[in-house]
């Protein structure tokens, strides 16, 4: 009967129900979009780190992120790392912001990523057109198809300049967005060195260390730290965190996204609280009757909480449908919104929590019911 009463109370006033559901829907969509953008941005920031086959990253002291690694390191760090017990492989990686000159004039910034994929460094993710062999051809590079227009090129075979070096689009990736909006340009290591002004050198922004499977990564890291001066050694997780902190929190972008999500929760809570309170007020005589019939306070609280729970479930379902449509529409944009099962589950928990908190004012109201009012109607 608790469910029946809650359901009927909720659906009795369709206008109020609509207002409640719109409030929850608005809140869910806002939170989903904000957190989805946050997740999408996080993925973009860490995509290259996540896809590198490395246990440890050696980088110049104070490197801020994948894109902002600082000074190039020489080969001394690489050789010292290779001589460290437990290290199976050390692969150099060049990452630098460079100027991309469009064929029709004008320029834009790109992130040059120089890697030798066969050595286990960062591979261009999701190659949709062409292969790594195509990228190894003279002047060849890989860019993401999303950025072709920004780069002023048409596709495979188009040419442009990075710095003073000529490059030709030899392969295309799909879905590799850059949080900085400077597209990643993948190429072999030697070409990258050449384009960043260190031709024929063995300089690198990072050294990616692969540890033997039977070795303790932390122990190898400590050994590396004792050998390498002026360099930092981070685990994959630590480097991810550092990159995220740099782009999401030092720039304020993440704070704005999380702030927007919190605002969504706040707005939703206020709207649901207001409608639940007014619904409770409208049904106050019925709750007083229940009290006069001998119901416990808990019974009445359950009715109100069930009402809140029903609002949460219906509002969540409607909100998720709209949020998923927005997520789908955003997939071809430079900043796609991400929806994961974990985020969907988290949003449901937030919705239920939001509605439960909203029920507090209504519960306070019924707690003060004087059952004697049943005789004064």
């Amino acid at each position: 009967m608790i469910f029946t009463l809650a359901f009927r109370n909720l659906f009795h006033d369709r206008v109020r129900l609509t207002v409640t559901l719109v409030g929850i829907l608005f809140s869910i969509v806002l939170v989903a979009v904000q957190l989805g953008l946050y997740l999408g941005a996080s993925r973009m920031i860490t995509a290259n780190i996540d896809h590198a086959d490395a246990d440890l990253w050696v980088m110049p002291f104070g490197a801020k992120s994948f894109e902002d690694g600082g000074m190039l390191m020489g080969s001394r760090e690489r050789h010292q790392a290779l001589a460290t017990e437990g290290v199976a492989r050390v692969t150099p990686l060049v990452v630098r912001f460079q100027e991309w000159r469009k064929p029709a004039g004008g320029s834009t910034r790109v992130v040059v990523v120089g890697t030798d994929a066969e050595e286990g460094a960062v591979e261009p993710l999701s190659l949709t057109t062409g292969t790594w062999e195509d990228i190894k051809a003279p002047d060849s590079i890989a860019v993401d198809s999303t950025y072709l227009k920004d780069l002023g090129v048409d596709g495979i075979g188009s040419t442009a300049q990075i710095g003073n070096g000529r490059v030709k689009v030899g392969a295309l990736t799909s879905g590799i967005r850059s949080f900085t909006q400077s597209p990643y340009v993948y190429m072999p290591l030697s070409r990258a060195r050449s384009l960043v002004g260190a031709p024929g050198s063995d300089l690198a922004t990072f050294h990616l260390v692969k540890v033997y499977p039977d070795q303790d990564i932390e122990k190898v890291r400590n050994n590396l730290l004792s050998r390498l001066e002026g360099a930092e050694v981070l685990t994959k997780a630590e480097f991810r965190q550092r990159s995220l902190r740099q782009w999401l929190f030092r720039t304020g972008a993440g704070v704005a996204l999380i702030g927007g999500a919190l605002l969504g929760i706040l707005v939703g809570t206020v709207i649901v609280a207001q409608t639940l309170y007014s619904s409770t007020k409208d049904h106050i005589n019925e709750f007083a009757t229940l009290r006069a019939l001998g119901s416990s306070s808990g019974y009445i609280h359950k009715v109100i909480l069930t009402q809140a729970g029903l609002s949460a479930v219906i509002g969540y379902l409607l909100g998720m449908v709209l949020a998923l449509l927005i997520v789908l529409a955003s997939q071809s944009t430079p900043l796609p919104i991400v929806m994961t099962p974990q985020l969907a589950a988290g949003l449901f928990t937030v919705t239920v929590f939001m509605c439960a908190i909203s029920a507090v004012s209504a519960i306070v109201k019924v707690t003060k019911i004087d059952p004697a009012t049943v005789f004064s109607r």
Binding site: T4, H12, A292, L293, G294, A372
Partner: protein, 263 residues
């Protein structure tokens, strides 16, 4: 504060156990200079198998007394015992349990849940007692049939006449087989025919189901159904009459007049 004690009610004719005993009930309403003494020392006993009418003019304290007897309001002074339990030191939740276990209520304006059907309105009275499932549903249907609403189980209050709604309220009050049924102006919102039907029902409940029914009323049409009439005026019980054997209605004797005559 002078407290006028009324004469003790006459003992029931049969040797019956008292299910409700109120002694020296005083109730002050409001605070400070605006305090009103609604009840000035009321004694009352209810026994099973009897329909008692509590009659009096508006403002005489009828509803206040009913609220106290139903454990909805606490007395300022005096003692109330329900089914042998003294209510003096019970918390609001314990009083709710006492109401749930021993008292059924019928209200003047029915107080039905407009979003629930007749059957559901009765079921909720069992639901608050933790009685759910098929047995509870069967019991509710049975009681609704007893009050003549077997064909109206799925109807919502908005689709029932006033008399039918009050019969749903009666069914809700008796479905848990309480010892005591308290009714507040049960016929006030009904026409003569429906009013008589409801009073007949209350009398049947008292006599056939051996329950103690107390109905607050100022409706003289209800007199023929009463076994006992208690008159209240200005917060005091001023008269009590019983239906003599063989009479259709109690022989009303105004104790106030009797007292004045003696004086």
């Amino acid at each position: 504060m002078t407290k006028k004690k009324t004469e003790a009610p006459a003992a029931p004719e049969k040797n019956q156990e008292t299910v409700l005993a109120a002694t020296g009930i005083v109730k002050e309403l409001g605070r400070g200079a605006g305090t009103v003494m609604a009840l000035k020392g009321v004694d009352l006993r209810l026994v099973p198998g009897e329909l008692t009418l509590l009659m009096g003019p508006s403002g005489s304290g009828k509803t206040t007394l009913l609220s106290i007897l139903g454990c909805i309001m606490s007395p300022t002074e005096g003692e109330l015992s329900i089914a042998g339990t003294n209510t003096a030191k019970l918390s609001p939740d314990e009083l709710a349990v006492l109401r749930r276990d021993h008292i059924g209520f019928i209200f003047q304006s029915y107080n039905l849940f407009p979003t629930l059907s007749a059957l559901e309105n009765v079921r909720i009275a069992l639901d608050v007692r933790g009685q759910k499932g098929y047995e509870a549903a069967r019991r509710c249907e049975e009681v609704l049939r007893e009050v003549g609403l077997g064909q109206r189980l799925r109807n919502f209050p908005g689709n029932l006449s006033g008399g039918e709604q009050q019969r749903v309220a009666v069914a809700r009050a008796i479905v848990s087989s309480p010892l005591i049924v308290l009714a507040d102006e049960p016929t006030a919102a009904l026409d003569g025919e429906n009013g008589n039907a409801v009073m007949e029902l209350l009398a049947r409940i008292a006599h056939e189901q051996d329950r103690s029914v107390l109905a607050v009323t100022h409706d003289p049409r209800t007199l023929p159904f009463a076994d006992r009439v208690v008159r209240i005026e200005d917060g005091l019980i001023v008269g009590e009459e019983r239906r003599p054997e063989g009479l259709d209605a109690p022989e009303i004797t105004d104790l106030t007049k009797r007292r004045k005559a003696h004086a």
